[in-house]
Symmetry: C2
Subunit: 112 residues, 2 copies
Amino acid sequence: MSSSKLLKGSLAIIVLRLLEEQEKMYGYEITQKVKELTAGEFKITEGALYPTLHKLEAEGYLTTETQLVDGRVRKYYSLTKEGNAEAKAKVSELEEFILSLQKVLNPKLGTL
Amino acid sequence: MSSSKLLKGSLAIIVLRLLEEQEKMYGYEITQKVKELTAGEFKITEGALYPTLHKLEAEGYLTTETQLVDGRVRKYYSLTKEGNAEAKAKVSELEEFILSLQKVLNPKLGTL
DNA sequence: TCTTATACATAAGAAAATTAGGTATACTTT
DNA sequence: AAAGTATACCTAATTTTCTTATGTATAAGA
């Protein structure tokens, strides 16, 4: 992921989150969706995305289904049952993390 | 940093941010301050903190000053002029990053 | 005396990214 | 027709940043 090498484990969480919204997505589609949602601020690099997808699949959170569309291969990913649970868990973990981070970045605001 | 291995380059930014608020801080103090601000959610590990401080110093963003307090050595860090600029830059970069991230995590909210 | 807190530090390893490369098809532009 | 861009997958080397483990040392509390 681009946008100046911030976050670490957030790419996997982003993938899980997108697949919560949309039943099936393929790799390239994910890169485009993220670019669109962030108005070009996040550019998911393939070197980061594909290993992440493979890892999530190996962990049992995603299943794949290959289709041939317009002469090109597409590998669609979907959440498994465990993937669904993992998505919920990881997303709220990240949201809590962001809240804590904001407490450090803006201590004046306190618990707000 | 603990709290489930999220963020990547955020530790350096946290350090810079804290030193914007407080003129001088030493390593151990930083770990305690972060723990306090996040109600124990972030635990800065020494293995992450000290190399980060040394790197920021090597990059010219921090200067040090050693004091002996109660028979123990303390190494105080302060922002240089460049460190001050870097702090501002990195903090807003991180804030923008968080905004983008939230757009992905919660696409329904749009630009809000 | 032993444990905890304070205070610094480094080194080995793991995790996750970047960068760079590779293959291949379809569409658009020159 | 050729060349470039978009689509679509993939891996490998390297870098960055973290965790975990370890080491040194003093002060305070049980």
